[in-house]
């Protein structure tokens, strides 16, 4: 009997011992990717299941080299710096925290130039889920959108982070703006404004019923809040600002349009009259009346001086308002345009004297509005581009050296044959390009040479040379989710098309000579490497 026992023990031992050892749990964790970002010389994927950031760069042979760095748990937002040299990852950490070792919310800053190094980590006291990045790349403001799911959320609390400084007691700096019931909806960082008290940069916080201004150069000071109405029914819909005449420091202004009001609020920065106030600038408020709700506006320079140009949706006219006197001049338009963009710097024939040229666009095509002054008129010319006969939903700028080009994307409507245009501001011509895509996404290269067009979840894409307008179509192996045009190690650039299948794939193509035959497909980007 003892022999049978021995056999049994032997077989059991074999069975048992064969189960010894295990592998990292990573292998059992599918990749979860919600965020991807193109950077200057790399692109980033956030693997939320592994709490890791993967930064990929492209070498001369179109191979991908990967750097994997830890990141926070429960990533809620990812943004790139305006120069695409840094990656900001906002995480909530472990909520709720049961142990002191549980991870806290944090903002992680990674180097986007290729090394993927963690540059800074700013630990937060509370989880937030929204990021606003300063166009100049210095400040990052974190705030709550209200969807964080926390038991109690203060939506008026902002965390201002100066990314040029290391983490410290006052960096991040929590600021709770005074609320009259509103919550932040939109943040705008201004460029330096010449205020009566000196040059300042301001953070404009639009809530759903009022406006607050924070002095970014004096974050220790309280904000200035402008209540737009007594009944809190006026909802801001956008702001524009001007520094005014360079020689003056008392004509910096801010204009606010709203969602429903037939008026625009005009705020003028004046010297502070109240000696006990912390802020050394004051505000006067005026209201400019219109006949309907403006759809877009911008401060423009005319030969007659600074004006606020406003467009009203569905109206074949524009209104120029003198911000000093609020005198209004109505300008008849040949069509209804809902949007305005200043293109003075991008064109070669800007009027002498400093007046602006604006591009008007919207449902009825595109026009150029030269804001110089002719006798008896407050404008010089309005030139409609006859080549563009479809509604324009979006205008995409092209970086230098082709900054005179604009890509006009039509509204998402209709199927089978839609036009988009590459508009040349220099000679006022528009090159139509036809696409069969029902919805179009595009990425413009940072060197301003190319534009990549694709339709999400489709395998087809195209690249258009912005100099020759030559399109080249490509059909990839896998459906495309995102496209980046990034720098390559050793020079050159590459197009990376991401495929959200499995553990992520990517197709890499030489951006200068795109060819499916020479494309390199990379699979399982997030596979292995544990």
């Amino acid at each position: 009997m003892k022999y049978s026992h021995a056999i049994f023990v032997g077989i059991a031992s074999i069975t048992l011992l064969s189960g010894c050892g295990d592998r990292p749990e990573s292998w059992d964790t599918p990749a979860v990717v919600r965020f991807d970002k193109g950077l200057e010389n790399s692109f980033a994927l956030i693997d939320e299941s592994m709490h890791s950031v993967h930064l990929f760069s492209v070498d001369e042979s179109l191979n991908l080299s990967q750097v994997r760095k830890n990141t926070g748990k429960n990533v809620v937002a990812v943004m790139a710096s305006p120069q695409a040299d840094r990656l900001f990852v906002l995480s909530k950490g472990e909520q709720p925290r049961r142990k002191s070792s549980d991870e806290r919310p944090a903002l992680w800053v990674y180097d986007g130039s290729g090394s993927g190094n963690l540059l800074s980590k700013y630990t937060l006291s509370n989880p937030l889920d929204s990021i606003a990045v300063d166009p100049e790349g210095r400040f990052v403001v974190l705030y709550s959108s209200g969807a964080s799911g926390s038991f109690v959320t203060n939506r008026n609390e902002l965390l201002v982070i100066d990314t040029s400084l290391p983490p410290g007691d006052t960096n991040p700096l929590p600021r709770t703006i005074r609320s009259f019931g509103g919550t932040p909806q939109r943040l705008t960082f201004t460029s330096p404004l010449n205020l009566p008290s000196g040059q300042r940069r301001l953070l404009i916080i639009e809530t759903d019923q009022d406006l607050s201004l924070l002095d970014l150069d004096h974050l220790d000071r309280k904000e200035v809040t402008v209540r737009l109405s007594n009944d809190y029914k006026v909802v801001p819909a956008g702001v524009t600002y001007t520094d005014g005449v360079p020689q003056r420091n008392d004509d910096a202004r801010l204009a606010v349009r709203t969602t429903k009001e037939n008026s625009v609020f005009l705020l003028t920065f004046v010297p502070q009259a109240n000696a006990s106030a912390e802020n050394d600038f004051g505000l006067t408020v005026n209201i400019i009346g219109l006949t309907s709700t403006p759809s877009d506006f911008a401060f423009v320079n005319t030969d007659g001086g600074l004006r606020l140009a406003m467009l009203e949706a569905g109206m074949r006219r524009a209104t120029l308002v003198d911000p000093d006197t609020t005198t209004e001049t109505q300008v008849d338009m040949p069509a209804s345009f809902g949007r305005i963009s200043l293109v003075t710097r991008e064109i070669s024939d800007a009027p002498a004297g400093g007046s602006d040229v604006a591009m008007l666009w919207g449902y009825e095509g595109v026009a150029f509005w030269s804001l110089g002054k002719s006798v008896g008129q407050a404008y010089r010319s309005i030139e409609v581009l006859p080549d563009i006969d479809s509604s324009v939903g979006n205008v995409v700028s092209v970086p230098a050296p082709n900054q005179s080009l604009k890509i006009l994307v039509p509204n998402d409507a209709g199927y089978g044959g839609r036009r988009f245009y590459v508009l040349n501001l220099a000679n006022r011509t528009a090159s139509p390009l036809l696409t069969s895509a029902s919805s179009l996404s595009l990425t413009v290269s940072a060197d301003g040479q190319r534009a990549w067009f694709f339709q999400r979840n489709s395998r087809e894409m195209a690249v258009v040379d912005l100099l020759t307008m030559h399109p080249q179509n490509l059909v990839l192996e896998q459906p495309i989710t995102s496209v980046f045009d990034i720098g390559r190690a050793g020079g050159g650039r590459a197009m990376v098309a991401l495929h959200y299948q499995g553990n992520m794939g990517a197709t890499v193509v030489d951006a200068f000579s795109p060819d499916e035959a020479s494309a390199r497909m990379h699979v399982g980007l997030l596979q292995g490497g544990f």
């Binding site: 109240n274 006067t284 408020v285």
Partner: protein, 537 residues
């Protein structure tokens, strides 16, 4: 109805001359009530009449059947202007905004609950205004110092007060209830309570006067105030040791049961006499406010209008059917009722009279008839000079500069709508310039010197709103489009600006520089109060 002359004099000091309220004949009151009820409850709160012309539009053959003349030149209380500021009350926020007409800086000060009727208070030292707070039943006195800071004093007043009568010196402010500003008042509402505020001592006396007062005046030395009511004229002694008190009621008619709502009462600036005219009557009753003695002056026909000169030396009566005017010497007429001069104006139908506030000049015209002519009357010469002036459209209303150097004549079209106006330069006399407006003329204001005038137009249906700046010297007229319905016009002489107050939830004023013609619109008087520096509590 004729406003007391002292009010016109007061407005000439600060540049508000000639706010216009127009009533359509036969439908004027209904129209006003209707439009008043449509007035938005917010800024600035006061009702306004329209300037639509009235009249049945009958021709000269139908003179005998013409309706009564309409007195369309009335005065508004809100906004008002003092030497430096324009004051605007916001009943919704309970604040009063005051705009420095020179710098256009807007500031606000809290008043009471639902401030509405506001009036300037003459004060040589400080810009002062006083406002009735309807819902809190009190009044707030606002006084601005040189730095623009305003101090307030609150007085409890009688209920239902909605109008002000301010003495020329600014010492006395009487809050009273004008029944015409109430929509469909019950006949049992007498509106007989008034509050007399002594601004100097800051004391308030509540008194009761006759049924439904119409107007107030003050005696020359401000010892007494007179309230013209439907019962007669209530005499208020102001300087009694125990405070103001109603001393007597002086009937204005021999017949106590005579209908009083068609009675027109004018009181001389010194407060000694009252002239009572009744529609359909050819008699003018002169009442002594000292002893109540009444004397009747019989004219050759129905007296359709009677106005007193600013200096109180003449009363000019229009006898429309006879194409005559009667010039009654004051105070002599009270003792010699038959001793007056009658001037015949055969080629002009004169049913209404407007007298310049600072010159012995009057204009005679008719807005009941379709009359394109006017008569210019000078009584300081012998014989009295009457000059006929031909215009290009029937006359609806006439606004005369204080010194009679210019005038604005509002015309009516065939539908009795005020769709044009003429600008007249009277010194030197130049051809009238007629301007067709884009909407109904709503308000007129002339500077005391007559060199500038502002005419506002308004059409709510077509949303056409505008203001015209008239320059007397070259009769150049510029139009300024407005984005909101105008509710009042005026001038602030100290800042050499005219203003047009407009209907806007946040309050809107357009200032027009009288010299350069540049306009500037301020909207949102209380927005500055809503700019909150976080460091301030």
């Amino acid at each position: 109805m004729t406003q007391p002359r002292w009010l016109l004099l007061f407005s000439s000091m600060i540049g508000i001359a000639g706010f216009v309220g127009v009533l359509v004949a036969c439908q004027a009151s209904d129209a006003m009530d209707e439009e008043g009820s449509q007035m938005p409850p917010s800024y600035p709160g006061n009702e306004y009449p329209s300037l639509d012309g009235g009249g049945s539009g009958g021709g000269a053959m139908a003179d005998a059947a013409l309706p009564p003349e309409q007195e369309l030149e009335s005065e508004y209380g809100s906004p008002v202007a003092t030497e430096r500021y324009v004051w605007v009350a916001n009943p919704v926020s309970g604040r009063v905004a005051y705009v420095d007409a020179t710098t256009l800086e807007v500031r606000t000060v809290p008043a009471g609950n639902s401030p509405k009727a506001i009036a300037p208070v003459p004060n040589p030292d400080r810009d002062t205004a006083i406002v009735i707070n309807e819902l809190s039943g009190d009044a707030t006195l606002l006084q601005a110092d040189d730095a623009g800071n305003v101090s307030t004093t609150t007085f409890g007043i009688a209920n239902e007060a909605n109008s002000w009568a301010i003495s020329p010196s600014g010492r006395w402010a009487i809050a009273w209830a004008n029944a015409d500003l109430y929509p469909n008042p019950n006949p049992v509402q007498g509106f007989q309570d008034i509050s007399v505020i002594d601004v100097q001592t800051e004391k308030v006396s509540r008194l009761s006067i006759g049924y439904r007062p119409i107007a107030f005046s003050f005696s020359k030395g401000e010892e007494r105030a007179h309230a013209v009511t439907q019962d007669g004229i209530s005499v208020i002694d102001l300087l009694l040791p125990q405070g103001p008190s109603v001393s007597k009621l002086i009937p204005t008619s021999d017949d106590d049961f005579e209908t009083s709502d068609t009675r027109d009462v004018s009181i001389t600036p010194d407060g000694s006499l009252a002239f009572v005219r009744q529609n359909g009557s050819q008699d003018v009753t002169v009442v002594s406010l000292t002893d109540g003695h009444r004397i009747r002056v019989q004219l050759s026909g129905e007296c359709t209008d009677l106005d007193l000169s600013a200096d109180g030396t003449r009363a000019i009566a229009a006898i429309r059917d006879q194409h005559e005017i009667a010039i009654l010497p004051v105070p002599q007429i009270a003792t010699a009722p038959e001793d007056f001069e009658v001037v015949s104006i055969p080629n002009v139908t004169v049913g209404s009279v407007v007298i310049a506030a600072g010159a012995p000049v009057a204009f005679g015209f008719s807005n009941a008839a379709v009359e394109q002519r006017m008569a210019k009357i000078r009584w300081d010469v012998t014989p009295i000079r009457v000059q006929t002036m031909a215009l290009h459209s029937p006359v609806l209303a006439v606004f005369l500069a204080e010194n009679a150097s210019s005038a604005i004549v509002v015309h009516k079209d065939k539908n009795s709508h005020a769709r044009a106006f003429s600008a007249l330069t009277l010194d030197p006399e130049l051809p009238a310039k007629i301007v067709a407006t884009q909407a109904e003329v709503f308000g007129v204001s002339l500077t005391p010197s007559g060199d500038r005038a502002v005419v506002a137009e308004r059409n709510d249906a077509s949303k056409i709103f505008g203001a015209y700046l008239v320059r007397r010297d070259n009769l150049q007229i510029d139009r300024y489009p407005l984005f909101s319905p105008p509710i009042a016009v005026g001038t602030v002489l100290g800042a050499k600006r005219a203003f047009v107050a407009q209907q806007h939830p946040e309050g809107r004023l357009t200032f027009i520089d009288l010299d350069t013609g540049l306009s500037r619109t301020l909207t949102g008087f209380e927005l500055a109060a809503r700019v909150i520096d976080g460091s301030q509590p």
